[in-house]
Structures are given as C-alpha cells and as structure tokens.
C-alpha cells in the first residue's frame, strides 16, 4: 500500500504518498486520544464537549483516510463516526457495550494503519466489528426503527461496502463511482473494464478523469443494477478488496445560488456555491448580492466553542526526526569533552597572567552545561506516554479476572529520556500486570477483609535529584513473609528467620522465583521479577520493594534521567583509567594481606563479612600491568549486577564524576566486558566497564 505511485499528469500533479507519514502520525495521535477519552467517559454524565471531541477523533481519521486512499480505515471510521454522531446528538445513550466496541474498533484501526505502514500481516477482518457498531448505532434510535428493519445479519453484509450504497434510482439502475487504488501498477485497474464488458447484464462502466489521475487512483463511472457486494466480489478477481471503493457518483462540491463568488454553472458535482452568498462567482442579482447574505448573518451571534488545549499546541510544536536530535546530542557531547580538556589544560597556566582566558573558559563551561541541558531536554518526553497504555490494559485484565480495579496516576508530566521511556515500558507493564493479577484480591475477598470492593493501583512518577522515581503501588494482599521464606528454603536458598523485611522482599528477585506461587493462589503467568530487575539494572536503575501483608505492596523503580550521561566512579589500574557505573557500586575497601584466597587452580575469592565473592582482576581481563608498588594490596570495589556481586581489584579510586557515554560499537567495534567509552577531562579515553559481563565472566 505504501508503494509510491508516479504522479500522473493531472492538473495538480501531486503525489499523495508524500503526506502519508504525517497522516499516520496524526491518526495514531487521534486514536490514542480517542481511547483515552473513551476510558475516561462517565457513561451517566457524558459531557457534550467530551462526546464531540471523541467524534472529532474518528471524523478526522476518516477524512484523512478517505483523502489518502486507505479505504479500509475510512470504512471502519465511517461506522464509528455514525455511532458517535448519534451519541453527541443525544439520539442514543452511551452504554458500556458501545465503549467496548469502539475500543475494539480503535485496536483494529491501529492494526490496519500498521499494515499500511508496511508492518505486514493479513488484512484485518472488520466485518463483525462493523456489524456490531452498525447494530448499536441502529439500536437506540427510535426513528430509525423502520429504516433499520433489516436484522443484524443483513446489516453485516450491507455495511461491508463503504461508503453506504448509493440510493437506487427509480429504474433500479444506479450511478456509482468506483475508485481503484492505490495499486503498484495502476494499469491493473483497466482489467476491471474488460471484465465488466464481458458480462453484459451488469451495465456500463467507463473511466473518469480520462483514465488518469494525479494520485495514482483510477476512477470509473458505473451504471448498474447489481448490488455493491456483487460488484466488489467480481472486482476482487483482479484488484484487492482494500483498493476498491464504491460510492454514489458525486462531484464532491457545490456552490450556493446567488452566493458571493459562486460560479455560473450549477452542476451538482460534490461541491456547490450558495446563490446569494458573498464571494460566489456569478453575477448574482446585482443589488442583493453583497448586502443581503451578510445582513442575515449579522442577526446571529457567533457561536464559538469553549477553548480546547489541543488546538493551539500543534501550531507551536515542531516534528523533528530522532536522528537529528541524536546528532545534536552527539555534537554537544563532543563540545563538553573539548571544554573539559580546555579547562584541564588551563589549570597548568598561571591564572594571574591569563585572567581573560580563565574568565572566558569559565563562561564556556557554564554555557556548555546550559546548552547540554537544553539539548538533552529535547529528548525528554512525559511519562504519560507510557502511563496512557495502562488504563486500557487494566480495564481488560480486571474484567478477565473478575476484579474491580481503579487506576490512579500521578506525575504523568514527569519527563524522561525517550530511549529510557521505550525500555522501561515492558518492565513497568509487568509490574502493573502483577499488581492486578497477584496483588489485588477479588471483590468478595476484599469485602470479607473490610476493604472496599475496588482495589486501587497507583502509578506515580517524580523527579528526585538526577533520577526519576516511578512507583507502582497497590492496596492488595501484599507479600507474605512466612510464605516467601518457606518458598525460598524450598528452592534451596539460605533464608534464616533473622532476615530483615527488606531482605525477605528482595527474595522475589531471585531467578525463577515466581511471585505467583507465593503471593496468590491464582495460577497464571507469574512474571519473573528477576527479569524485571535485570532490565532495570541494565538501564543503570534500581528496584526497591516495600510491603505489608494484607495492606499492599509498593515497587519503586529508580532510573537515571538519561542514558547519554552517567554517574561514574573512575578507577585506576596501572596507567589506565576505567569507569564503573556508580549505580552498580556497592562498597569499596582496602585489601589486607590474606583476604584473598585461591580456590582450585586460579579462582580467587574474597571474604566480605559472611559472604565470599569472586575476585575479578582487571589486570587479567584487559592485560594491563598493575603498578608494582600496589601489587598484592590495592582496593576492592564490590559491584552488583544481575543479582550477583563480584569484587573488582583496582589500584586506586580516582573519583566520582558525570561522564558522557560514547558508544564504542558505532565508533570502533564491540569490546568484551566494556559497555562504552568516555573522554576524561585530561583528554584520555576511559572505558566504561560492563558490570553485567564481569559478573557473567566470574561464573566461568
């Protein structure tokens, strides 16, 4: 569908495919808004403004889809629009069933749009959905009782052709317009002509637009007595159903008689001019033309709708590709490094002799930092982008589990780097799903425990220092200390009764420790919390659990605001400098002689309090000689990743600092045990250690 068609030599000569991308983005936004508004709709007190806004979403998608030739999307939105139109006119009362069907239709539209964008897959079958919507739209309108005499079954077939069939003429013969395309080869459409000619009783068919049009679409005038469905079935011999559109032959515009500016001819061709309106192109009866119509409208007070925020937002935003922003961030990263190098170099100069230079460098430092912050903020998007998917998900999940769940969202405006937002979505979804599945009890159980029948899940985001804190909290049954301990022992995990609560809760992060077995009796997907923790750790984040049995549970996820800058601990080994992500550092201490023991041939371990952990010798990993003086002593840095701890043996701790992360793979090649690189203030390149890889290394 997204194939480009060479623009025909039509008057405008315009290739419509160039507008597809904007249409897809816009349709996506409209569908998301519609879903959000449907979920928030108060069925008993639905406001006019809300119903209108929902209608407008469907309406807007339909208009675009019809214009740009996505017939299937236009067909489905047309049905939705019909139902929504009746709702906003209060001809029908909103029902839960309507919301359900409209939500399902929204999903189908997303699938259709994804397909048009080249996602592949089979055509979405929307016949049942369309029939459902049509039935609901017909159901409540008393005046439509006669018109809707046809049962649901026949509705399904008659609505399969959109727009609705043209009214039959007296003779039973109808004048239709068939639109074909877009097709990879528009000439295929001519096969339809031949096909039509072979079957005499069908009627006549001839090309419109001289068989050519600007947008790669072909139009035909069809005079026939056959039904739309019969025709479409026939045509699908040569052309896919979604590339066919059958409707009444209309020109699509008109002028009002005597309207100012209206032209002389008055053919009804889908547009029109009002004969006495201002601007109509004729010669409307000279005297009245200019005065009459406006005079009439002066009597009316202009009706304007209450302000809505969506309208103005668009004119003040700019769509830019992520690539461009990333390039900018990269350049600023380089600038920060250059600035740091200059600052370091200037330290060797006598400040008194180079006052101007020093002052200039100080300005440069401040401006660079401001610039960096400003550029980073471009990539920041609000958490609402992630949160917005949960109302729908919880609604469906709660319905399936027979639970009543209310979702409270706080701090949706909190901003986070786009890259992180994409990566945090899955772990958060697991957490929210877990809360609903395993945390919240059934309404009966809740009432028995003197809780409200509705469980509450709270999603909260806030900024705390240089990181973002996302909390998933529920008022469900919480974690059971006794059950967790029992379960851990069953798994062979050493879990004495003396463990603190926090340590007990942390047990659910152990690999293969399904929360489902412990927390609830509901069988189902007990999502491994170890996976959640690993995913968050790979983003340099951390997870914390708090719970009280019978009262609920809270999972706090802490993340850095961006992946491009990282808090690091710089360590020295010999002449080399390495960076450890600060979030993975647990503690560090001076190595005393005899602390390190060798097990087997070459495996070394160190005892820290009660725990033995493997020693990673960076000297061996990167084959850099350690400085002689330090040999045997040095400093041990305990780091944690993937639920395990290892001790890294280094010569010295150089300090903590923010580093700009450079991708090594794209600049050089993948290096084992290294996740990236950065440039230090003195111009040296320092490798950023991949703690997860070091932990895995220690296992072999």
């Amino acid at each position: 569908m997204a194939d480009t068609h060479s623009p025909g030599p039509g008057a405008a000569g315009i290739d419509l495919t160039q507008f597809y991308q904007v249409f897809f983005e816009e349709a996506g936004e409209n569908l998301a808004t519609m879903e959000q508004m449907l979920l928030g709709l108060d069925l008993t007190h639905a406001g006019d403004e809300e119903l209108n806004a929902i209608f407008r979403c469907a309406h807007s998608v339909k208009g675009g889809a019809a214009t740009f030739g996505f017939a299937d999307v236009a067909e489905l939105t047309h049905q939705m629009e019909t139902l929504l139109d009746k709702l906003r006119r209060h001809e029908l009362e909103p029902q839960t069933r309507m919301v359900d069907v409209l939500l399902a239709a929204g999903d189908a539209l997303k699938a259709q749009l994804a397909r048009h964008q080249g996602a592949g897959g089979d055509a979405v079958d929307t016949r049942a959905l369309i029939a459902d919507i049509a039935q609901l739209a017909a159901g409540g309108a008393p005046s439509a009782a006669g018109a809707a005499a046809t049962g649901p079954a026949s509705l399904a077939s008659s609505t399969a052709a959109a727009p609705p069939a043209a009214p039959p003429a007296a003779s039973g013969e109808r004048l239709l317009e068939l639109t074909v395309g877009p097709l990879p080869d528009p000439a295929t459409a001519d096969n339809l002509l031949d096909l039509f000619k072979e079957i005499a009783e069908l009627g006549t068919m001839e090309p419109l637009d001289a068989g050519q049009s600007a947008d790669g679409m072909r139009r035909f005038k069809v005079v026939t007595r056959s039904s739309d469905n019969d025709l479409l079935d026939l045509f699908t011999f040569h052309v896919p159903r979604e590339a066919l559109k059958l409707g009444p032959l209309t020109p699509g515009y008109g002028f009002h008689r005597n309207a100012p500016g209206a032209p002389k001819e008055q053919a009804d061709q889908g547009y029109g001019f009002f004969s006495d309106a201002p601007g109509a192109p004729i010669a409307a009866a000279a005297a009245s033309a200019a005065g009459q119509a406006p005079a009439r409208s002066e009597a009316r007070a202009p009706v304007s709708k209450p302000a809505e925020r969506a309208g103005t937002l668009e004119s003040s935003t700019l769509r830019v590709s992520v690539d461009k922003v990333d390039q900018l961030i990269n350049l600023v990263g380089e600038l920060v490094i250059t600035q740091a190098v200059l600052a370091q170099t200037s330290l060797q100069l006598d400040a008194n002799q180079h006052q101007q230079l020093t002052a200039g460098l100080a300005d440069l430092q401040r401006n660079t930092r401001d610039l960096q912050e400003a550029v980073m903020s471009i990539r920041m998007i609000p958490m609402s982008v992630v949160f917005s998917r949960y109302p729908r998900m919880l609604r469906d999940l709660a319905a399936k589990l027979g639970k009543k769940v209310e979702l409270v969202m706080q701090g949706e405006a909190t901003e986070l780097d786009k890259g992180l937002v994409e990566k945090i979505t899955d772990p958060l979804t697991h957490l929210v799903r877990n809360s609903c599945d395993h945390g919240i009890e059934s309404p009966e159980e809740r009432i028995a425990q003197r809780k409200s029948a509705h469980g509450t899940i709270t999603l909260a985001a806030s900024h705390q220092g240089g990181s973002i804190l996302i909390e998933v909290r529920d008022d469900g049954r919480g974690l059971s200390r006794a059950k967790l301990l029992a379960k851990a022992r069953e798994r062979g995990i050493d879990a004495p009764d003396t463990l603190s609560d926090a340590e007990v809760w942390a047990l659910i992060f152990a690999p293969g420790f399904s929360t489902a077995d412990v927390v609830t009796d509901v069988s189902g997907r007990g999502v491994g919390m170890d996976v959640v923790k690993q995913n968050i750790a790979s983003l340099n984040g951390s997870v914390e659990i708090d719970s009280a049995e019978g009262y609920g549970m809270s999972v706090k996820v802490r993340l850095p605001l961006t992946l491009a800058i990282m808090d690091g601990m710089s360590i020295g080994v010999g002449d080399e400098c390495y960076i450890l992500p600060l979030s993975s550092v647990v503690e560090s201490f001076q190595v005393e002689p005899g602390m390190i023991r060798t097990i087997g041939s070459a495996n070394r371990v160190v005892q820290v309090r009660e725990e033995y952990m493997p020693v990673i010798d960076l000297e061996g990993v990167f084959t850099v000689p350690r400085s002689e003086a330090q040999d045997g002593n040095g400093i041990m840095v305990i780091v944690e990743a993937e639920g395990a701890r290892v001790a890294v043996l280094v010569d010295e701790l150089l300090g903590q600092q923010q580093v700009v992360v450079k991708n090594l793979e794209s600049n050089y090649r993948k290096v084992a045990n290294v996740s990236g690189a950065t440039i230090m203030g003195d111009g040296r390149v320092a490798l950023i250690l991949d703690v997860g890889a070091l932990v895995r290394l220690s296992r072999h």
Binding site: L16, V22, A214, G252, H256, G270, G311
Partner: protein, 120 residues
Amino acid sequence: MHSILAVDDSASMRQMVSFTLKNAGFTVVEAVDGQDAWEKASTRDFNLVLTDQNMPRMDGISLTKKLRENARFKTTPILILTTESSDEMKQKGRAAGATGWLVKPFDPTKLIEVIGKVIR
C-alpha cells in the same frame, strides 16, 4: 498573487491542501482551527478562505459567520470543506454566508478546479 487562508485541524489535510495550492501558484496561510483563522484574518486580507467544518475551539460555520460580520470579508469567497455532505450542513453553511462547499475526500485536481471557479 492570490492568497488563500486554509483552515483545518488535521495536519495531513493542511499539508496536502497547502502543497496543492502552492503548487498551483497561490500564496497560502495555514490555520489550525477557526479561532486561529479568525486571528490571522484580523491582520490581513485573503482572496479566498477554505475551511474545514468540524474543528476544536471554533468550527467552520462559526468562522464563516464571524468573517461575514467583518466588512473586509463581506464578499470574499468562503468554501467549507466537509465530510458531512448532508443537506443540513449545506443549509447551515448557506445561512452562515458561505459561498460554497466541497465534500471530503477530494483530490488535488478537484480542489484546484473548484477554486478556479471562484478565483480568476
């Protein structure tokens, strides 16, 4: 050169209309809804106003009424773009003082054809 005020809340429609009209040699000013259009119309004149009907804040009919109340727009052709081709919409347009209507979807060729009938 003739200037046209193109009003639509849909960015893709706006882009398509604007591109088509510019291609045909018109100067185009875009507005995102009736209110925006009204503000833009208060600062300069246009040879034609092409407006969508269903928009947030101010719809096409209300915009038409407001424009007609202004002496500068008494005779300017105003075309309302609408997917609602019903007689009801046409009558509302007529009462508001619109010059004519154009049913969506339309293709670029048709747009130029219709505009050619009112602007020369």
